[in-house]
């Protein structure tokens, strides 16, 4: 039975590019998938598109494509990515132009659309607030459905060499080439569940090859500096081996695969996807050779018929400031600094909606509360700490005052503070809702060379 080789070229928008090139060059890949959209990325991209109608796609799209296209075109490797973000058509036109510049005139590039459901989102009730999305008024920025494989498969069936989506379910980017290649039926829940597992294991790139895994003295990862990105060899039944190219750094092990299996999963028996309710509860994971791990036993049941929708909305401004204290009595001085900023900001009154004060090195991360030897371990006086004050504000001006008051600690705060940093960012929050899959019409279009001039 033939085997399809799918590689992961990115697991988030800022992911490293060199391992993707290495994988493209040496992975003998049929498909290379770049997954670059986090929960909020598309809302931020939508803001960029509102400012510039030609923008709104992944800022690293051009660098990534210039790096890998000559290799993938030479090797006959096809690309699937969600780097289109809020503007897949503009992204596809850019890739078209890059391909032409590189002399790759025969490449067929498709843009997938239909995930943008902003026009229809108004009546949908948001899980977080219970209110209709329309209640957000002009704070509403974006609404995107996590779409399934159908339009990606259709684009591949039509011969696309590069398929550029906006929001799709992350595993669907990997499942689509499998459905396309093996002609899996869309009610073959077991195979769709297995393909979803492959996608889930690959979608965070190096997180399955030893990235985000090393723990010195406990979990060793060889040559982490040169970590390789993963690829899966998948057979027609959806069983797979997770591996990486020989000579790359990192390690694919049973342990690395189990960590990634459970990453961002709730009930393993019910991993809801647009095309299938995948069941990972009986997955088997077995090392079959160096850096080779066989995964099997995933299953699936009928999809729910509802698509998850991510709704992005403006939620005020975040102002933040930090300052360091060190040496004798530093913790007490940091805590005094935090309370001073709190008092001084009280004058801003209603403009400040929520505040948070942390002492980095002491309590910025939750610490064990339970009684017992670990909690009772005497806390050594820290050598240095960093006070961080953050606030969510109604206005940008109020958010600016947070950093100003932290900076003001230089002359009007406790002794010996140093190294102030401050920032102000607009908060784009995400809420969720569901929409019947039948209400979300998806499709694709081939972007022809003529469009490049447009």
């Amino acid at each position: 039975m033939s085997v399809l080789r799918i590689g992961a070229g990115a697991g988030f928008s800022g992911d490293r590019i060199a391992p993707a090139v290495e994988l493209a060059e040496r992975g003998e890949l049929d498909f290379l998938v770049f997954e670059c959209l986090a929960e909020r990325t598309i809302a931020l991209a939508q803001l960029a598109r509102l400012k510039n109608p030609a923008a709104g796609f992944d800022p690293l799209l051009e660098r990534r494509m210039r790096a890998v296209l000559p290799v993938t075109a030479r090797n006959g490797t096809r690309i699937v990515t969600n780097m289109g973000a809020a503007n897949p058509r503009a992204a596809a036109r850019l890739v078209r132009r890059i391909a032409t510049e590189l002399g790759l005139h025969g490449l067929r590039i498709a843009a997938v659309g239909g995930d943008d459901v902003l026009a229809a989102i108004g009546p949908c009730r948001l899980d977080e607030t219970g209110a209709a999305a329309s209640a957000l008024g002009d704070r509403l920025v974006s609404a995107n459905a996590y779409i399934g494989v159908a339009p990606i498969v259709a684009a591949l069936d039509a011969g696309a060499d590069v398929v550029i989506c906006g929001r799709a379910s992350d595993p669907a980017l990997f499942l689509a080439p499998l459905v396309h290649h093996f002609r899996w039926r869309m009610d073959d829940w077991t195979r769709l569940g297995r393909g979803t597992l492959v996608g889930h294991l690959l979608e965070c790139s190096a997180q399955v090859t030893g990235g985000y895994f090393a723990d010195p003295g406990r979990k060793h990862v060889p040559d982490l500096a040169r970590i390789g990105f993963p690829l899966a060899e998948v057979d027609g039944d959806g069983n797979a081996t997770i591996t990486k190219v020989a000579g790359s750094g990192g390690r694919v092990s049973r342990a690395s695969c189990i960590e990634q299996l459970l990453y961002e999963i709730h009930d393993p028996a019910r991993y809801l996807q647009p095309d299938v309710a995948a069941d990972f509860s009986r997955v088997r994971i077995e090392e079959t050779g160096p850096d080779r791990v066989a995964v099997s036993g995933a299953d699936g049941r009928a999809a729910t018929g509802m698509l998850k929708i991510s709704v992005g909305y403006r939620d005020g401004w975040k102002g933040e400031g930090q300052i360091s204290y060190a040496g004798a009595n530093c913790l007490a001085r940091a805590e005094l600094a935090a309370s001073l900023v709190g008092e001084r900001l009280a004058d801003c009154g209603a403009e400040i909606l929520e505040t948070r004060r942390e002492v980095i090195g002491h309590d910025s991360i939750p610490r064990p509360a339970a009684a017992g030897p670990s909690a009772a371990r005497p806390a050594a006086a820290p050598h240095e700490v960093r006070m961080r004050f953050a606030a969510r504000c109604r206005t940008e001006a109020a958010a600016e005052t947070v950093g100003e008051e932290v900076e003001g600690l230089y002359l009007c705060g406790p002794a010996g503070g140093g190294g102030v940093t401050r920032s102000v960012t607009e908060i784009i929050a995400i809420a969720s809702t569901l929409m019947p899959a039948g209400d979300v019409e998806t499709g694709f279009e081939m972007v022809e060379a003529d469009d490049a001039a447009a």
């Binding site: 929960e39 909020r40 977080e128 985000y212 895994f213 723990d215 406990r218 979990k219 342990a255 189990i258 960590e259 990634q260 299996l261 459970l262 990453y263 961002e264 999963i265 709730h266 009930d267 393993p268 028996a269 990972f280 509860s281 009986r282 997955v283 088997r284 994971i285 939620d315 975040k318 929520e354 505040t355 948070r356 942390e358 980095i360 910025s364 991360i365 939750p366 610490r367 064990p368 509360a369 339970a370 017992g372 030897p373 670990s374 961080r388 953050a390 606030a391 969510r392 908060i427 784009i428 929050a429 995400i430 969720s432």
Partner: protein, 99 residues
Amino acid sequence: MRLHDIAHGRTGDKGDISNISVIAYDPADWELLVRAVTVERVAGHFGAGFASSITRHLLPQLQAMNFVLEGALTGGVTRSLALDAHGKCLASVLLEMEI
């Protein structure tokens, strides 16, 4: 001993829900994990009010368990004011548990 001596794990986040895996290095330690790392122990470890609910899912064939902590991320990564808004550090905090 500390949980870190016999298990590893990773944190994930979706909205205001954190999930933390706990995985035995040695299959022989699985029964101990199931007995010792219960929902009650995890709730006590993070303290009162840390999460609105905690659920444990077991995958015995992988000697792995998955804790789902709802309401644990002060509103979720997109609006939390916390430095580690994803709660990425929580798995390592859990591995400090004495068992």
